[in-house]
């Protein structure tokens, strides 16, 4: 690795994205999965692999089939067609062996209203055969130590969510499934939970999560599968997907210099709105070229910012509509 030095860093951007992001050792293999509820086809021909130690995201709007896909992998739903292997186990046939080794947080789950935090953790810890995580430490890490004696119904949304994460981790699982784990939380609680998820990965666990928040996917996931109408429409690391589908970059700047428009037009396409110029180009070099042009012509700018596309834009490009629609 060190012998390659700066060369490998320079090369990284030019490697074919699929080869760079293919999981080395898949712990989850999903192939051709279909699931219908009556006439409604929730998931159609879904295939993906998840590598050991990855944070893998299923992203898409509500009702796209993310949860159904995840629940088939977890073994709580039986797919109509297709094959799934998790840690070498069949989620339908080996469901109990699988449950021993995975941790699950379900979307919109509840517990008994009057169960205490401590009781929930101690019940869960007795359901598994394998050596367990230390429940008390888990609660401390999740900031729930003082809530041990509190009834479930008295917890806030963030506390409930953290309790469900604790329950998902109680058996020290190899793979953790988190379904819409920050939905309904305020930004501060959300960030705290992102930290937790990164912590889970740093302990060598594989994490599969679903989200309809593109920011969450960009910040957390090593790779994402974009799901729409029950099908995976593309799959890759967030950076790869952006590079593949939204290579355009823009620079927005303000200047009073009358020569700016003409000078910048030689770099890329320019839109002007009074003193505000938007330069539309593609590729990572656009920003450098704009800066170079400005300094060459001695143009004084009062504002300068770059606009980079994200997964939100990728989604819009692939589906023709915003993820919130």
């Amino acid at each position: 690795m060190t012998t390659l030095g700066t060369g490998s860093r320079a090369l990284r951007g030019y490697l074919p994205p699929v080869a760079a992001s293919r999981p080395v050792q898949p712990v989850i293999r999903v192939a051709g999965v279909r699931k219908a509820y009556g006439k409604l086809v929730a998931v159609e021909d879904v295939s993906f692999d998840v590598g050991d130690g990855e944070i893998f995201g299923l992203i898409g709007p509500n009702g796209a089939g993310k949860t159904t896909t995840m629940e088939c992998v977890e073994g709580i739903r039986r797919p109509d067609r297709g094959t799934i292997a998790v840690l070498g186990l069949d989620p339908v046939r080996d469901v109990y062996a699988l449950q021993e080794r995975i941790g699950v947080q379900l979307q919109q789950a509840q517990l008994q209203k009057r169960i205490t935090v401590g009781e929930a953790v101690s019940l869960w810890s007795r359901l598994y055969r394998r050596p367990q995580a230390d429940g008390q430490r888990l609660l401390e890490q999740l900031g729930l130590a003082e809530k041990r004696g509190a009834w479930f119904m008295t917890l806030s949304g963030g506390q409930k969510q953290r309790l469900f994460i604790a329950l998902a981790l109680i058996n020290d699982p190899d793979v953790v499934f988190l379904d819409e784990l920050t939905t309904g939380l305020d930004p501060q609680a959300r960030r705290a939970i992102w930290e937790l998820v990164r912590g889970i990965r740093s302990r060598g666990k594989t994490v599969v999560l679903t989200t309809h928040l593109m920011e969450e996917a960009e910040k957390l996931c090593d790779r994402v599968a974009i799901i729409e109408h029950g099908r995976i429409i593309d799959l890759g690391s967030p950076a790869d997907l952006v590079r593949r589908h939204c290579p355009e970059r823009s620079v927005v700047l303000s200047t009073a210099d009358p020569a700016a428009g003409e000078a910048l037009a030689r770099v890329a396409r320019v839109e002007r709105d009074g003193a505000r110029y938007t330069i539309h180009g593609t590729g990572d070099d656009l920003v450098t070229e704009v800066i170079h042009c400005l300094s060459e012509h001695g143009i004084r700018v009062t504002d300068f910012r770059t606009v980079l596309p994200g997964l939100e834009d990728v989604f819009l490009r692939l589906t023709g509509h915003s993820i919130r629609d």
């Binding site: 449950q99 379900l106 789950a109 008994q112 009057r114 169960i115 007795r126 055969r129």
Partner: protein, 249 residues
């Protein structure tokens, strides 16, 4: 196979007793009712012109037991549908717990609470009901266990069909109370028209009442083999049906 059963059962009992009306509804009210009816019956016995006193005395234990069993079933239906609606059943399934363990735990909770209520009732009612040589407590308890077990299985069928938790109690009541009305609990079935008597043959609760009243009066079990067979059949049929139609979410 039944790993976690006792943990879950014990926890569910504790949770149930934390409900505002949990202990009062299941234990205190039936015991008070029993003692109160006992006082009335005792007062009537004191007046020799009311020979019906003996009938009341034999009828009350069966009456109260049936009411407890039916309310246990209604409570089971409600709990199951609330747990289903809240995703609690689903969350419990996403563990190594077997589905049967989850449901058996709830049945055990109701059986244990029923047993506790009966035990307290026996103790409290000693003064009014001659529990001793002439009443086979063991036999009656066994009959009650069989009855409750069988009616609980009907509860699971009801829990499978109720659409939401809001309807659990009313739907359960609409199904169970008419069954209770023509079970021979409040009046003998022989005073009914023929066609209603025929209909009552398909009423599982009629067999429960017959068994409970019989065992309390000291009948031999051999006299009630038909009742036992009917209750076992009901249990088997309802368990088979709910195994097919029960919804976890």
């Amino acid at each position: 196979m039944l790993r976690g059963l006792w943990n879950l059962t014990w926890l569910e009992i504790k949770i149930f007793l934390r409900e505002p009306l949990g202990a009062i509804g299941t234990i205190v009210v039936p015991v008070l009712l029993f003692v109160l009816l006992g006082r009335v019956a005792a007062a009537r016995d004191a007046a020799p012109e009311l020979a019906a006193g003996g009938v009341i005395r034999a009828g009350v234990p069966a009456l109260v037991s049936m009411l407890i069993a039916v309310s246990a079933v209604l409570s089971l239906v409600t709990v199951i549908s609330i747990y289903r609606e809240g995703g609690i059943l689903k969350r419990l399934r996403a563990t190594p717990l077997r589905p049967a363990t989850i449901l058996i735990a709830h049945v055990l909770v109701k059986l244990l609470l029923t047993a506790a209520t009966m035990a307290i009732m026996m103790a409290a009612g000693k003064r009014y009901y001659a529990v001793g040589a002439d009443v086979p407590v063991f036999g009656f308890s066994l009959a009650l266990l069989l009855t409750t077990w069988s009616i609980l299985s009907i509860g699971f069928v009801i829990a499978s069909v109720v659409p939401t938790a809001r309807f659990a109690q009313p739907v359960g009541a609409i199904i169970l109370y008419p069954m209770l009305a023509v079970s021979g609990l409040f009046f003998p079935l022989r005073i009914l028209p023929d066609w209603m008597q025929a209909a009552a043959r398909f009423n599982p609760l009629a067999y429960s009442v017959s068994l409970l009243q019989g065992t309390w009066q000291g009948d031999a079990w051999s006299a009630h083999l038909g009742d036992v067979a009917a209750l076992v059949l009901v249990f088997a049929a309802c368990t088979a049906v709910s195994a097919r139609v029960f919804r976890w979410e």
